[in-house]
Symmetry: C2
Subunit: 223 residues, 2 copies
């Protein structure tokens, strides 16, 4: 996963120069901002104004570009899923068996790479939490339907592209849901304060712990 990918520019450098961009470029920036805001506050809790300010544009312009807040959220889910599956596919394809532990099958190694890719997506602020929020809105007629389609597409990746059986796929999804929960919970805030929490935390992020500790949003940070 690219650690300094171009994805995060919108939040790092808000548009304070009043530069005119192509509307596609703007859309992309706004979607980055939207992932962060929706991820933190949820669909209803987030405001289009917060998204707009995070992206460095005016609130009415966000509405203008996406029509409604609901539409913006749908586009945001889509963006998150597209990135998620792209990261998974890249990790699946990256069969760098040169430096592979000889005792490990390629299947196992791919599993590790994909798990790592999932965790690395923490760096796209709000991606995991936005999806988690969407998954909880199943009773919303339009968002719920989109969320179910998205969830199913991840399942299909594990079953068809990665070739896992149903039980393995379920275990993967379960670990993923737990990781998303721990990110949304910001349990990192209590890391070190209580041996139990520390243990819980470490048990969920077995790989690359220092890196994870470094990039996880925490505390009163907005995202």
């Amino acid at each position: 996963m690219q650690r300094n990918g171009s994805g995060a520019t919108a939040l790092d450098e808000p548009n304070e120069t009043g530069k005119r961009l192509s509307s596609d470029e703007r859309r992309r920036q706004i979607l980055i901002a939207a992932m962060a805001v929706f991820g933190t506050r949820g669909y209803e809790g987030a405001t289009t104004d917060e998204v707009a300010r995070a992206a460095g544009v005016s609130q009415p312009y966000v509405v203008r570009l996406f029509g409604t807040k609901e539409n913006l959220f749908l586009a945001t889910i889509d963006e998150a899923l597209t990135r998620l599956l792209a990261a998974f596919r890249a990790a699946l394809a990256a069969d760098d068996d040169a430096d592979r532990d000889p005792g490990i099958t390629e299947g196992k190694a791919a599993g590790k790479r994909i798990g790592q890719a999932y965790v690395d997506l923490i760096e796209v602020r709000g991606l995991h939490q936005t999806l988690a929020h969407a998954y909880l809105l199943g009773s919303n007629p339009v968002i719920g339907a989109a969320a179910r389609r998205g969830f199913a597409s991840v399942w299909r990746f594990f079953r068809e592209e990665m070739g896992l059986d149903a039980d393995e796929a379920r275990a993967f999804m379960a670990e993923g849901m737990l990781i998303s929960t721990m990110i949304g919970l910001r349990i990192v805030d209590d890391y070190g304060s209580d041996p139990q929490i520390t243990e819980l935390f470490r048990s969920c992020f077995p790989t690359e712990l220092p890196h994870v500790l470094d990039v996880l949003p925490r505390g009163t940070e907005r995202w």
Copy 2:
């Protein structure tokens, strides 16, 4: 888990008779209603008015009893966690080894009972989803702190009361998060429509599938 427990009266029989109750009784009714509403819409999406109507009282009275919406949500999380841990403890204690498969250890059997208790809590409408929503609000200073405490208390149950090691506990929590996600997603709505989804669904609810299919909220139902 009791299938017709006293817990669900508030929603089944709203207070249309104008009866005066003890404020404790009312609080309990309102909390039941609140789990359902918060579970469906989330903290921000839910309105105190919706909760009030579900409980059969007026909106200002809900605010009167709980002070603020935030307070109501905190009380609702607490109610949900109390019920969750009570159900777990009951399942752990119910060592009915009379009809136990002789090839299964008591540890395994307890695990099955507790897993089943978790799934059975679907019948307390919104319980799982309310907790899941709370877990996603980690960046909220007051709700986030409460959510982390609650999550940690479940972890402690698995580790200390149930005696699992960290890896087993993590696996349990992960399965739980997946189940909560599937409930919130209302993936049951697509059950039968697509073999992939059906498989995903069955793989997550291996036990008592017909019962689960029966009690899961679905579609445009409010909760």
